[in-house]
Amino acid sequence: MVHYEALRHVTIGQYIPTGSAIHRLDPRTKLVAFSLLVLAVILATTYSNNILLLLLVLVLVQLARLPMRYILSAVTPALPIIIALALLQLLFYGSGSPDRPGASQLLLAWGPLRISTAGLRMVVVSLLRFLDLLFLTSLLTNTTTTSALTYGTESLLRPLSAIGLPGHEIALVGAIALRFVPILGEQLEAIMLSQASRGVSLEGRGRLRFIANTRRLANLIVPLFVDAYRRSEEMVLAMQARCYRGGKGRTHLVELVLVCADYAAMGLVAVILVGVIVIQYTSLP
């Protein structure tokens, strides 16, 4: 069943106000901490590293008072696929992992199936990593409003304007995109309704009608693009009429200020990153 109204309510990382300490951090701190922790998660390939990181992330989620059930509910629809892929990886991986060479013993071999320690570690690590990243993105998006995120990104990119990277413009791109998602969603809904009222069925008519499905989808997408283009022409004129000059010399009404808690948080994250790298190079399992 095609739910026409759902298009209007596309939400990206719903903001959940619980008033915790993490909510009160500067958005720049949260962005930097997020990037560093993601880096740490990417680098960690040993069991001990990943378990430590997972515990840490769980502590942070508790600190932010975010409901665990809500975060995990995003995963439940895809659980069968995850399990199937994990099983495939476990059974067919075989060769040694490029990160930690040597010592991959074969645990079980039966016909074309082979389970090795490297494969086992890869599966467990990627599952843990997946959970880590899920919680980290929730930590970022559920504790920060989109406008705060945009403003924080722009602020972080400001020093890059010295080498010619237009930080303000990029943040503006993000702001326009977020602002227009519900508008274009309404537009798409209108297009779908108008085509349905003229008798175009929007249910997929089975997979083999590939060309027909494509054509039907293109009939939706092309008007959407043309509409977006028309809006963009209007916006260009509006911005020119207001003498928009870009980010040079632009000042803001509300300035972001870093406080003690922000520095403490960033310091803590830096320590964690260093710790992960150190553990990575010792021989802990």
């Binding site: 990382g13 892929l85 413009e169």
Partner: protein
């Protein structure tokens, strides 16, 4: 990125005599230096004299990137972005198409930004571990818009002869690879045993027919549309190849599975990209006979 440019109406600013057309270094009457003020190029409609253009290219790029990013996010987070295809791995995606269109319409920076947004949305939206890795979800997607932009920029003003030559080269490569394949003993693919010679012959036949059809199409169609189509194919293949390559390098899937997913997803996605991109960009830029309204 600020480009404040003023148009000089064809009068000398010092003595006021009207100047002959064409670029001039000095006024023929009073000798004033005219190089200080240069005529604007590009975005003004013809016949308009003396209008200050405020940062137009920059604004246009920002807004195009923003709106295409909004479409990308919309397609990512609703079911509209997928087309069911008769292959084992269920769905072909059209979410990379705004990145390609951004690259074609406004250049590689816009393509890069929309591709970054696509990668980020894919990363946020992912529920399988493979796409929760930024190196697989985000980094390869940066190049979709960039390669599409470069391909389009290279081809849209090309001679048709250059295109025919490229087509000829592809045909030769196709026949050679068919010949190589036919020399191998046999293939095991999808559980069937295929003779090497049969596969090679099939490839050669497909290449020959494909080349003939493409030749007829290129001859008949506007060069810009051909350029768009090629850019769309390149962009879509960049997405498929780089993402699957990153997945293999990071060790998520073995190479054989990657090839299978690549062939079964990549080819329908490329075909869909060509159809949609050509329809959209031709409608927006009013190119091609019979395409003034969108034609599929």
């Amino acid at each position: 990125m600020a480009e404040k440019v003023t148009v000089v109406s064809r009068r000398c600013p010092q003595c006021g005599t009207s100047l002959p057309p064409g670029p001039l270094a000095a006024c023929p009457h009073c000798g004033a230096d005219l190089k200080a003020v240069r005529p604007v190029e590009g975005s003004l409609p013809p016949g308009v004299k003396g209008r200050e253009v405020l940062y137009e290219r920059g604004i246009r790029r920002i807004i195009t990137a923003g709106l295409l990013l909004a479409i990308t996010l919309l397609l990512s987070f609703t079911r509209v972005g997928f087309i069911p295809v008769p292959t084992p791995a269920a769905n072909a995606t059209i979410v990379h198409i705004p990145a390609i269109i951004g690259g074609i319409l406004e250049g590689s920076l816009v393509g890069l930004i929309v591709g970054l947004g696509f990668g980020f949305a894919s990363f946020m939206n992912a529920t399988i571990p493979m796409f929760k890795d930024p190196l697989v979800a985000v980094v390869p997607r940066l190049f979709i818009g960039v390669t599409a932009a470069w391909t389009f920029a290279a081809l849209w003003r090309a001679n048709k002869r250059i295109l025919y030559t490229c087509l000829g080269v592809l045909m030769v490569l196709g026949i050679l690879s068919g010949y190589e394949l036919s020399k191998q003993e046999k293939f095991v693919w999808l559980g069937m045993n295929l003779g090497g010679f049969a596969v090679g012959l099939a490839v050669v036949v497909v290449v020959a027919i494909g080349t003939a059809l493409l030749y007829v199409w290129i001859r008949r169609e506007d060069v810009r549309i051909v350029a768009m189509a090629v850019a769309a194919v390149v962009g879509s293949l960049t997405n498929t190849v780089l993402v699957l390559g990153a997945a293999v390098l990071r060790g998520y899937i073995p190479a054989g599975v990657a090839w299978m997913i690549g062939l079964s997803h990549g080819i329908p996605e490329a075909i869909i990209s060509v159809i949609v991109v050509v329809a959209v960009v031709a409608a927006l830029r009013q190119i091609g006979r019979g395409r003034r309204g969108a034609r599929l």
